[in-house]
């Protein structure tokens, strides 16, 4: 194999470009924290120019999971695109569904019945809990606290049981429809759901001792990947990353949707805006989400038997039974399934996702083919701010920065 030689041949010239004026510093090494790397939480690639352990330049490269969802929406149509919204931020499938459904409802001015709104709030908050569980568990595992992964995943499996019991599938369950939810929650599942939160809150207190007070965890996160209020706003941060920097802004409080104004919960706000504060914000959000879920479950008891799907036959499929019996329902179903049309115009709906503000900007020209469906991906902005968070710091702190920036490549690359 003559070819071996030229790969490992020693190139004398490379040593020539040493740094003349500073004999102590070595040369910049071009590193590739590539698409297949345990610490990058997905297929992100970071081109790093490292001087010893300090990273001089960091350039994220994305697009390794670009599946062309926005193009797919234009050919699929509004209704069939629901399935794709699950795969956006696949840690919280139901929350993406709700965001997309609310965007469609905003454009169509469609009213959602009260019980459906409560079920949606319950599903969204449970999805937020499941998403934060992975965010905390995996970033702790990356920094060496392996047992945290198994604790958080144990809780996540229990939450999977609830979601599996209600929607029939653990993940990617596409259970939200335009105008409400697919089916009602059975009473015994509600009790089971309520039972989950007692042991969940007890478990969080256990993690607090394990992690929050832990000296190593504190040293590895305090002061790492910090950004000020102005930097966070200028770089388009929203959600836990923005609140970590001290800006008290939560869409559920500022622009309440789906009945959030009736629930009382606090917004967790950090001060220094570093990895440790973002971790504390996420832990507090877990507690607040559990609190909201309990209130939602209580309200579900009062509205038991209420409507869970709107009746507007332009957008909402008739119940299966009616389609067999009456002719108009059959026509309605046929019209909706083949070409559901939204009124002409455009609408934007921003939803408070676990990563930030997940927005759906939809433009319709009145025909069945959607004109445009743009998804605002908070993960893309969380990745864009990585150079700001990591440049000048140690290479091993990049892992804490990625863990605290908390992005999901499915949502970033769409």
């Amino acid at each position: 194999m003559t070819l071996q030689k030229d790969i490992f041949e020693y190139r004398a010239g490379a040593m020539g470009e040493l740094d003349p004026d500073d004999p102590l510093s070595g040369q910049l090494v071009e590193l590739n924290v590539g698409p297949s790397h345990p610490a990058t939480h997905g297929v992100l690639r970071l081109k790093v120019m490292a001087d010893g352990e300090i990273m001089r330049e960091v350039e994220p490269v994305v697009g390794y999971l670009h599946r062309g969802k926005e193009k797919t929406c234009e050919s699929l149509g509004w209704r069939k695109f629901f399935v794709h919204t699950d795969r956006l931020d696949y840690l919280q499938p139901l929350l993406n569904n709700c965001g997309y459904a609310m965007a469609l409802e905003k454009l169509a001015h469609l009213e959602v019945p009260e019980r459906a709104q409560i079920i949606r709030v319950l599903l969204m908050e449970t999805s937020r809990i499941m998403s934060h569980l992975i965010a905390i568990g995996v970033s702790a595992m990356d920094l060496g606290a392996i047992s945290m992964f198994f604790f958080t995943f144990d809780q996540r499996e229990k939450a999977y049981d609830l979601i599996d019991g209600y929607t029939g599938h653990r993940m990617n369950n596409t259970y939200i429809r335009m105008g409400g939810v697919y089916a009602d929650i059975e009473p015994e599942l509600e009790e089971q759901w309520a039972g989950y939160f007692e042991q969940f809150l007890a478990d969080i207190d256990q993690w607090e001792e394990l992690l929050t007070g832990n000296r190593i965890w504190y040293e590895r996160n305090r002061g790492i990947a910090a950004m000020t209020r102005e930097q966070a706003l200028a770089w388009g941060m929203t959600g836990p990353n923005l609140r970590g920097s001290g800006v008290e802004y939560d869409i559920r409080k500022a622009e309440p949707y789906s009945g959030y104004e009736d629930y009382d919960f606090e917004v967790a706000v950090g001060t220094l805006g570093d990895a440790y504060d973002r971790y504390l914000v996420r832990i507090e959000e877990l507690r607040q989400s559990a609190r909201i879920c309990k209130q939602a479950l209580a309200r579900l008891k009062d509205t038991r038997g209420g409507e869970f799907l709107a009746e507007d036959r332009r957008y909402v499929l008739p119940p299966h039974g009616d389609v067999q019996s009456s002719m108009e329902e059959l026509i309605h179903q046929f019209k909706i399934v083949t070409d559901m049309r939204l009124p002409r115009g455009e609408a934007y709906m921003g939803v408070e996702s676990s990563k930030g503000e997940l927005g759906f900007y939809i433009a319709s020209d009145g025909t069945a083919k959607p004109l445009r469906c743009h998804m605002r991906a908070p993960s893309l902005l969380n990745i864009q701010v990585l150079p700001l968070l990591t440049e000048g710091q140690l290479l091993s702190d990049m892992v804490a920065a990625i863990g605290s920036a908390d992005f999901v490549m499915g949502e970033c690359d769409r």
């Binding site: 003559t2 070819l3 030229d6 790969i7 994305v62 697009g63 670009h66 062309g68 926005e70 193009k71 797919t72 234009e74 050919s75 905003k106 454009l107 001015h109 706003l233 200028a234 770089w235 388009g236 941060m237 929203t238 800006v247 802004y249 500022a254 622009e255 309440p256 104004e261 009124p343 002409r344 115009g345 455009e346 609408a347 934007y348 709906m349 921003g350 503000e357 927005g359 900007y361 433009a363 020209d365 009145g366 025909t367 004109l371 445009r372 743009h374 605002r376 893309l380 902005l381 990745i383 864009q384 701010v385 690359d413 769409r414």
Partner: protein, 188 residues
Amino acid sequence: MSRSLEATRERLAPILAGLDHKEEESRDGMLTLRAPQDGVRAVLAGLHAKAGYELCTIVTAVDHDEAPTPRPQDTGGARFEVVWQLHSITSNDRVRVKCWLAGEEPGEAGFSAPTVMDLWPGAAYFERECFDMFGIGFDGHEGLKRLMMPDAYEYYPLRKEFPHGGIEPDRLYKAWDKQRRQPSGGTA
């Protein structure tokens, strides 16, 4: 509650008084402004500086190619429009600024929009993605290259004439596979 559309309009009226813009009706209660291609930069700068819009939520484009909608008369049959959405946390309201682009083909003179990267650094990736998907240039944007597709990709996927299944999607992979098995290829 977020401020209603009327409240936002009053708040912005003095700021936008001198700037060339027109308000459009919107279905989702968000103030929508339409500005000409050369005047939109002034409107955006004004909103950033005086109206306290700290967050740039969206920079995207819409391709109206064969859409049957009667396009607004004064666009002169333009096909692409660029949409900015800004968000103010202090006064808790949002505004949407739109502008029609003159050109239609990437690289054409009129086929570019002013960058807002200096006002909101967060919009850099949005503009790169807009360029990647539509071919719209953003003058003043340093480092405008593809975001999602590989750099050697020569089509713009979100344009309406681009087929959904793509044109020979594995061409770049085959070229890479052939190139790396040449002896000189390797990892040199």
